[in-house]
Amino acid sequence: MKRPSVTSSAIPLITAMIAVAAVLLPIFLADTPWPVGARDYLQENGFGDSGAINLVSAIYLGYRAFDTLGETIVLLVAVGGTIGILTRSGAILAEGYTNPDTVAGIDSSEEEIPSFSLAREKRKSHALRTHLLEVVTAILGPIVLLFGFYVMLYGHLSPGGGFQGGVVVASGIVFLGLGNRMESSTKLTQAAVLGRIEAAAFLLLILASISGILLGKGFFGNPLSRFTAVPEGFIIMLNAIIGLKVGAGIGFMCIAILGRER
């Protein structure tokens, strides 16, 4: 328990920083010109191929949509693993981490950790919750949710996109769950609803990805490019689906960790 002296903790820190600098220095010193072929091609053809003014969206949903599918699967596995660990360790967590030095206010002898959305007097542990938090999050929650949907649906025009909007939506869901001072409840903070949204969004994503095959455009090909010159509808749809999936998944994970709703 004794604190080490300043020098003994500073030496490995400085060594690590020098090592990182030695690795990164050649990158800054190199005068190799950056390749411009892909950049020029994207600036010329990106809008016409995918219909997205925001070229980042054009890349990751138009040219590289397969990578996006992989990312959503990674996220699915991460959320599933977290929920699995939480479920298996539920008994240990409910018992509480018995340490005499625990933060004041967390009563580890309670047998049931309260649900995420209990009223203040019904909660057994509110060490990390204050009135300020509840008031602010209750008011801010719907606004954050709206902004998340804006970022999600306008990803092809402005910075943002499905993943970014989805994470903002997840923050909004967490805000809604934290700030229910008026005993108001919303379906969006229930684990079952979020799980169903995520599963349905993943199914829709798979269906959208194989819809290109049926029209002869290949896996994740844009089926609308057969009919219109500026096929931005496909990217809007993919953004909405991915945003719903990411928002529901991450919101589900946060609510499971924060509230352990059972």
């Binding site: 328990m1 967590l93 509480g96 967390i106 910075p159 943002g160 994470v167 997840a170 923050s171 946060c254």
Partner: protein
């Protein structure tokens, strides 16, 4: 401006590593993410800035604070 932001990020990151109060470390990490988001925005990468702000400063902080609620606030290994 960018140099100042990078120095602040460095200081906060070292503080987050060296502090024994995990809650303060988490807040320092959150501030690192916020400053990184500002840095990305200044460097003309608004997409990355939105992601960094939402994931780093928002969701991961919520997850870390939630985990601290079930464990212990102090780092006893020091």
């Amino acid at each position: 401006m960018i140099i100042i932001l990078l120095l602040l990020i460095l200081i906060l990151a070292v503080y987050a590593l060296s502090t024994s109060d995990l809650l303060q470390g988490i807040i320092a990490l959150s501030a690192v993410s916020l400053l990184s988001a500002l840095l990305f925005y200044l460097l003309n990468a608004p997409d990355v800035a939105i992601t960094e702000a939402a994931v780093g400063a928002g969701v991961s902080t919520v997850v870390f604070v939630g985990v601290i609620r079930y464990t212990d606030r102090k780092d006893h290994s020091k």
